[in-house]
């Protein structure tokens, strides 16, 4: 009962926030709705027992992808009103493409249902093992059988990071506004001020 309730709760929220992503006027709000959609989708994944995918959704999609979207939306000065202006003009084309894709889907699934497409029998046993966590199992295989490839995939990410830094980082900063904090801290009152006791009627020589 609770299971069903939770499913409908998450499902309705996914659909509603998905709709809001498209409908929101402010692009930043769209991204925030998208994040809500991801969280609820993660909830759905937990309900079907795929906790690893649920974690991936939160960590990768919310933590990285959505934040990246947010950066792009906020940092690049894109005129969304102008982008929307072409919408009506291109709507027939978009609708036509959507229709073609729909027809292809219907035909493909129809052909499969009718038994025209032979996909063969699956070889592996994909049923979940009872009482075992799939996070643990994926971890066990990544760090044993696929250890080498896993580590090397890490090196690839490192290489791409080095690349991004090498291509964008500039080490010489502008001379203006360069602050040397240690020099400022080391400066003593004696260096900056001078006490004079001028005689009455005489000025001070600086």
């Amino acid at each position: 009962m609770i299971h069903t309730l939770a499913f409908y709760l998450f499902a309705v929220l996914v659909l509603a926030s998905g709709a809001m992503v498209v409908l929101a006027r402010n692009p930043v709000h769209s991204v925030l709705w998208l994040i809500l959609a991801f969280f609820n989708a993660a909830g759905l994944m937990i309900l079907v027992g795929a906790e690893f995918i649920a974690m991936l959704l939160v960590i990768v999609y919310v933590g990285a992808v959505a934040v990246l979207f947010l950066f792009v939306v906020m940092m690049l000065n894109i005129d969304f009103a102008e982008l929307r202006a072409g919408f009506i003009k291109n709507a027939p084309l978009g609708a036509a493409i959507a229709l073609i894709l729909l027809v292809e889907l219907v035909l493909g699934v129809g052909a499969y249902r009718a038994g025209v497409v032979e996909l063969g029998e699956p070889l592996g046993n994909a049923a979940p093992l009872a009482g075992e966590s799939n996070v643990e199992n994926i971890g066990a295989i990544l760090y044993s059988q696929y250890l080498f490839l896993f580590e090397m995939a890490g090196v690839i990410l490192l290489v791409s990071m080095i690349g991004a830094i090498v291509l964008t980082h500039r080490d010489q900063r502008a001379a203006r506004g360069h602050q040397n904090i240690s020099k400022q801290v080391a400066r003593r009152p004696e260096d900056a001020t001078e006490l004079k006791k001028p005689e009455v009627g005489q000025g001070v020589e600086l």
């Binding site: 059988q145 080498f148 490839l149 090397m152 090196v155 490192l158 290489v159 791409s160 080095i162 690349g163």
Partner: protein
């Protein structure tokens, strides 16, 4: 699975990755001043990896003992021989790079680190015994290469080269992945051995599409026609030491990888991919030869020359037998030497202010102004043209012999005919150097490292090297046998 043996087999890769990580930290803290020590340390790491790989090549390692990580990685003699060439070429690129970048004040320690990681990627590529290993190695090499192409980011041509390479490389990776997913879908395995067993009774439509798409993706990486269009632009725009690196090491890696996919994974179905390879070989020879004729820029000319040479190497692959694979390795060894030598000459072409010049016309009359350089380039050009006493001829001879053995007489005949077209533009350079009025442009003095590399590569392709062909041939035969034993 025994981890100790597996780790024992990947020691060269571990040396490269660990030294890359340590040098990266040194680069991060040391800043620009650490460029020189980091470059030297990278060369030492490459040298260490070289000497660790060498014994397995000399012993002709093959068989199940060379498999690491449950059949994902194969450290046999074939991979070893390719690795030796890759490490040598990468080391050469590191040696000549500082002189080029220092002039532009662009030398940073990250250059050497990126070269190290690219080399690590190539090392993994040639040892791939699984589609996953193949892709991981390829991407590691490609990502580092994109950055290296755009290394002079303030130079428009370098940035353009990097962008072009990146966009087209990503497309090629996509095609390759599509082929890999089809292959996996229809064979149910990613390991080359498994694919070989699954395809033993013939290919079905999905597997055929898989192998064709994979070969198309790999043809991009080796710049075989019809996937060669990026090569002249990238080679011209990238900084010259990087171009030298691109033309040598990744070519070896990608060709060895293609040979592994074709002969190991799809080895039982040679007739399925042979037509594709024969077409790519002939088209590369012809397009490489014709495209080079009109070139004014020597880097573009050498790009077409590398397309042409890839065609000859693919003739060896098309033969699909042990002697063909062995001929490919021999050709590759001489090709690397010729490429390094010719690009060292390009690096030595600098005017009195030290600015690099790249026009073929700037070489005019080099025989009177810089006789030694001119004679070295003459030897390299004659060797590239395949003129007999030089070793370029020997490589071509081996490749065509293998093709004739495999009853590909038409392929061999057309290839030999087209190599005459190629000879035209190589000899044109010699004519410009020896018979034209001196342009007297090349004036700057070159450093000892340039002369050393030029001397080594010229000696390696000179007739003296006939003394080592027997030894080299036996190494290549053992390596090719290892490839076929694995299969």
């Amino acid at each position: 699975m025994d981890f100790a043996t597996s780790f024992g087999l990947i020691i060269p890769e571990m040396i490269l990755s660990v030294s890359g990580l340590i040098l990266l930290l040194i680069a991060a803290w040391g800043g620009r001043e650490s460029s020189q020590p980091v470059s030297i340390a990278s060369c030492i790491a490459l040298g260490a990896a070289f000497f660790l790989v060498a014994p397995s090549v000399c012993a002709g390692a093959s068989g199940p003992d060379t498999l690491a990580f449950g059949g994902q990685f194969r450290a046999d003699a074939f991979a070893g021989m390719a690795k030796l060439m890759i490490y040598a070429a990468a080391g050469a690129a590191l040696v000549v790079a500082p002189a080029y970048f220092d002039r532009l004040k662009a030398m940073r320690p990250e250059f050497a680190v990126l070269v190290l990681f690219a080399t690590l990627g190539m090392s993994i590529m040639v040892s791939a015994a699984d589609l996953l290993t193949l892709y991981i190695g390829l991407e590691m090499n490609s990502l580092a290469a994109y950055v290296l192409a755009a290394y002079l980011r303030d130079d428009d041509r370098s940035a353009e080269a990097g962008l072009k390479y990146f966009v087209l490389g990503a497309l090629a990776s996509g095609i390759l992945l599509f082929g890999m997913s089809l292959t996996y879908g229809f064979t149910g395995t990613t390991s080359f051995e498994g694919i070989r067993m699954a395809t033993a009774d013939g290919l079905n439509g999905g597997m055929l599409f898989g192998v064709i798409f994979m070969l198309a993706g790999l043809a991009f990486k080796i710049s075989a026609v019809p996937f060669h269009m990026w090569t002249p632009d990238v080679y011209e725009g990238a900084p010259t030491p990087v171009t030298m690196f691109f033309a040598s090491a990744p070519k070896v890696a990608a060709i060895a990888l293609t040979a592994r996919v074709a002969l190991e994974a799809f080895g039982t179905q040679a007739e399925a991919w042979q037509q594709v390879v024969i077409f790519a070989a002939l088209a590369s020879i012809v397009v490489g030869a014709l495209g080079a004729i009109g070139q004014k820029n020597i880097k573009r000319l050498l790009a077409y020359s590398s397309i042409n040479n890839v065609g000859f190497i693919l003739v060896g692959l098309a033969a699909a037998n042990v002697s063909g694979a062995s001929a490919m390795l021999i050709y590759l060894a001489f090709y690397v030497a010729m490429t390094v030598g010719s690009f060292v000459v390009v690096l030595m072409m600098r005017d009195e202010n030290g600015e690099p010049v790249e026009g073929i016309g700037d070489l005019a009359g080099l025989s009177t102004t810089r006789p030694l350089m001119a004679w070295c380039l003459l030897a390299i050009m004659f060797s590239l043209a395949g003129i007999p006493p030089l070793m370029g001829f020997y490589g071509k001879w081996m490749v065509f012999q293998a093709a004739v053995e495999a009853d590909l007489l038409a392929l061999a005949a057309i290839g030999i005919g087209a190599s005459v077209i190629g000879a035209f533009y190589y000899i044109k350079i010699v004519k410009v150097m020896f018979f034209d009025e001196p342009a007297d442009v090349v004036k700057a003095k070159a450093g000892w490292e340039h002369w050393t590399l030029l001397a080594i590569s010229t000696l390696f392709i000179s007739p003296i090297a006939f003394l080592i062909t027997g030894w080299l041939g036996s190494l290549a035969d053992m390596a090719a046998a290892a490839l076929f034993f694995a299969a």
